[in-house]
Subunit: 343 residues, 2 copies
Amino acid sequence: MDLIDRKYRILQAIIDDYILTALPVGSRTISRKYEQKLSSATIRNEMSDLEELGYLDSPHTSAGRVPSNKAYRLYVDQMLRPMPLSVEETAFINRCFDRRMHQVEDVSMRIAKALSSMTHYTTAVMTRAPRNEQVLSHLQLVPVADRRVLMILVTKSGTVKQSILDLGANVAPDELYTVSRILSQQLEGLRLSELAGELMRLSGKNETGIHAIVRAMAEQTPQQEQSDIVALAVGGRSNLLSFPEYSDVDKAKALLSVLETREKVVSLLSQHGEMEISVRIGPETGLEETKDCSIVTASYRLSDGRVNTIGLIGPTRMQYGKVLSVLGQVGKSLDMMLEDQKD
Amino acid sequence: MDLIDRKYRILQAIIDDYILTALPVGSRTISRKYEQKLSSATIRNEMSDLEELGYLDSPHTSAGRVPSNKAYRLYVDQMLRPMPLSVEETAFINRCFDRRMHQVEDVSMRIAKALSSMTHYTTAVMTRAPRNEQVLSHLQLVPVADRRVLMILVTKSGTVKQSILDLGANVAPDELYTVSRILSQQLEGLRLSELAGELMRLSGKNETGIHAIVRAMAEQTPQQEQSDIVALAVGGRSNLLSFPEYSDVDKAKALLSVLETREKVVSLLSQHGEMEISVRIGPETGLEETKDCSIVTASYRLSDGRVNTIGLIGPTRMQYGKVLSVLGQVGKSLDMMLEDQKD
DNA sequence: GATTAGCACTCAAAAGCGTCGAGTGCTAAC
DNA sequence: GTTAGCACTCGACGCTTTTGAGTGCTAATC
């Protein structure tokens, strides 16, 4: 399994070159560009061995050779040189994760766009709140417009769900507050899935006053167990089309379709140990449609207990060095932000 | 300008056929499939006339002919036969706009996905609140987690903005309510853009108690005029790649890039008279990148004053009949929903 | 006078074909 | 163990030919 030094170097050179050019690489190329002391014939012999060992494939007899998934695996696990980011890149990442992170709106989307514009890969960002913490912490009714009220449910983990209620009549803000406070105390600690039933029970059959409010709330409360996924965004889809491996429209379409299917994106981002960066190559991605792709995911625990998973997807011929550096920096940047908040 | 009946029919046949097949249509095709009484030679003469009148283009001497933008314009304005939807389709649309519409979450996304799966075009959905109504109506602080508080700003038009504040210390819910009420009264009617300054002024230099809260609020309040766009979602991007006009990856990429640029999507959806369905063909779309596309947009005023704009985008060779029927049904469906709410 | 049949002409796309060159594998010499 | 040399493979490229759908024009027909 352990390759002697020269084979190892040659394999690395082949992978590097292929990642760069997407063209099958031949013995002559390696001899000229990477191992000038060796003739192409020697390289040829080594390559032949590497093919036998399962690290290289040949598309056909007289094209060059192409790294196998096994080769990428080795490359990622052992050959990767850390590729330092430029000052601008580091600064750019830091800027993404500054205080604006506080704006609840569409942080995911902004991160996704930023990372895909940096790496030229497609990025998916998912924020999830641990399912067992989907328990009500606080409830609030806020007047929005004529007769209408915004119901806000805050869970222990800090997730916020909102719905608009139509009360059928105007209710004074002060009364809304009273109702909010009473119900908040009464319902705190319940799982969101139990909420609707409990509200229904409280409202009884009485159709007037506070009962009407409670009934309206019950109707708009999610019945089933809510998904623990709070936000999901994909950015930089069009980047895919720049890769020669997707010059075939059908392949591009298949992959784009995956990225439009919520469950599939979630599944791609999910198989992943927490707090770590994981690289999955080809079939390891777990979906038939992405068997020629690699996915690098990174998970970060946020201060409020939610977990953010960022995934970069591209052809197996991926610039792993760059991608890992970027995600590493994202981690550092987030840590810094969390530190700041402790003051 | 008014074409005699036969020319008119022939033109219609050509457009119908081209929309269906995407292939330049020749005289023989028309003679066989649509006007069996006439020989191909006669059709040829008519087509020659139509070309001179600017309704047809010939890609080159011996391909068939292709409708011009002028022809599509005529088609949309005068030739369109209403294409009734199937019962399933109608039901499907109605289901999209039922009570779930109340859930604030990602209605736009759901509509976008539903419509693009129905029509096989790409769909963009935008919800906007009139800018001049971006005025504070109500403000509320809600405890979320340790030391953290969710600040909710509700505008007169019913838009909700939220940010997380870090207060640096725990504050009792009751106190939060008191602060909310006082500030609500004091700040009501201010434009959102003026809010940060006013809060800053109120907090003064005092760093303790209520002042600390107000200061934290000032820091997280949007400084600039907020965009009036509340939500924007795009669905069904991969549908584009099914059209032969995008079998060229570069063209597909260009269009996909447009759909990833927020401002461009907004601009595509914006040039539009309210409460109506508008069809824009080719250059009428207003962007260089979409000069070979058509966009059908429809705007609906929601009960809370917000305006929802739905746009379907595809090649100029678009199934206008189907698309218009679908959007028409969406309008009816929404109206029904609004009626319901009056009860 | 409108319609049609017939024919010459056009042109893109497909098919066929030789050439080129990057690549391999093998063998024999160093 | 390394390399030079050589025969062989095969896709890519460029060229020509063929094919066929389509046009435009003219002369005959209704």
